[in-house]
Subunit: 206 residues, 2 copies
Amino acid sequence: MEFSSKLIEKAVNEIAQLPGIGKRSALRLVLHLLKQPKEQTSFLSQALLQMREEIKYCKNCHNISDNTICEICANRNRDHQVVCVVEDIRDVLAIENTGQFRGIYHVLGGKISPIDGVGPSQLKIPTLVEKVKNGHIVEVIFALSSTMEGDTTNFYIYKQIVNSGVTMSTIARGIAVGDELEYADEVTLGRSILHRVPFEKSFKNN
Amino acid sequence: MEFSSKLIEKAVNEIAQLPGIGKRSALRLVLHLLKQPKEQTSFLSQALLQMREEIKYCKNCHNISDNTICEICANRNRDHQVVCVVEDIRDVLAIENTGQFRGIYHVLGGKISPIDGVGPSQLKIPTLVEKVKNGHIVEVIFALSSTMEGDTTNFYIYKQIVNSGVTMSTIARGIAVGDELEYADEVTLGRSILHRVPFEKSFKNN
């Protein structure tokens, strides 16, 4: 696309670098901003700049935070002996929204994925292993997505802490609540039968 | 969604004000920016700010431009007697990409749409009427989308310049090149028969 304005072109090119936004969508967003008051654009760019400059990562769990220790790790009412291992802040948000977890998190920042060039050294695995070896932790819950990369990462961590006496578990895989059996894939359905739950347990904690 | 960081929350809320971007997508974009070098975020916000602050509109055709007269209007090789009436810069880009138009444009900035609260006074219609009445224009080509609003706008302008002796035309409606007849809607197919083109003309100018 050739633009009549270099300013538009620059803005479109910058927006189009974001994932999932092409040049056409970027132009649509730019034209939207032009129709809105100038303040909206300045608020937007200030929020982005400030976020990028001032964001911190929690020293304990590596989650995104405004302080050196995040709100969850700083909360004394939570069980600091149970650690849920997740990929990034989105998983923390998702699990927090369930209201079913009272422990703390450990945010790896990704999964081991040789194809994307992500090795164990780029992830926050050593601090997790250290925490486990220091004996502060009773249970590690693996809550990575059940892909090849997720399973590899789980197994890599497992091998390093298997002898430390910590309990390890993974979140349950199975048919989603409300889903029809006939549309479930066979791996998920198979796992849901293998890991079936005693009936009395199934209606507790709802 | 409850975020562990106010900075993230602010950035997400600002991005989610853009059309077609919800909070989930906004969070995905923010996390992407956090993984990229800081420069990318600062380039992005600078480009947006600069674009919003410094953008000008061409005095002649009201198209977005870096100067007071846009490149198209300033081009002496173009036919300034043929004016194509369009809604916004996207239509200018689309028509320019065809390479089939050598005239100039007149960008209305929208279509008459009472539902959205857009009346004729919000559009750049008076300057078009004035240009026509001054006798500088030989042909006006209406290239608005063929919706109720587009047709209303066309007709509103038509009524004001019908007595000025200018030639008026609309872009042809019909079956898209490469499309199957059986999937075309009946209005479009009907128009394509009504406004059929002499066969010799149909393979010229390709």
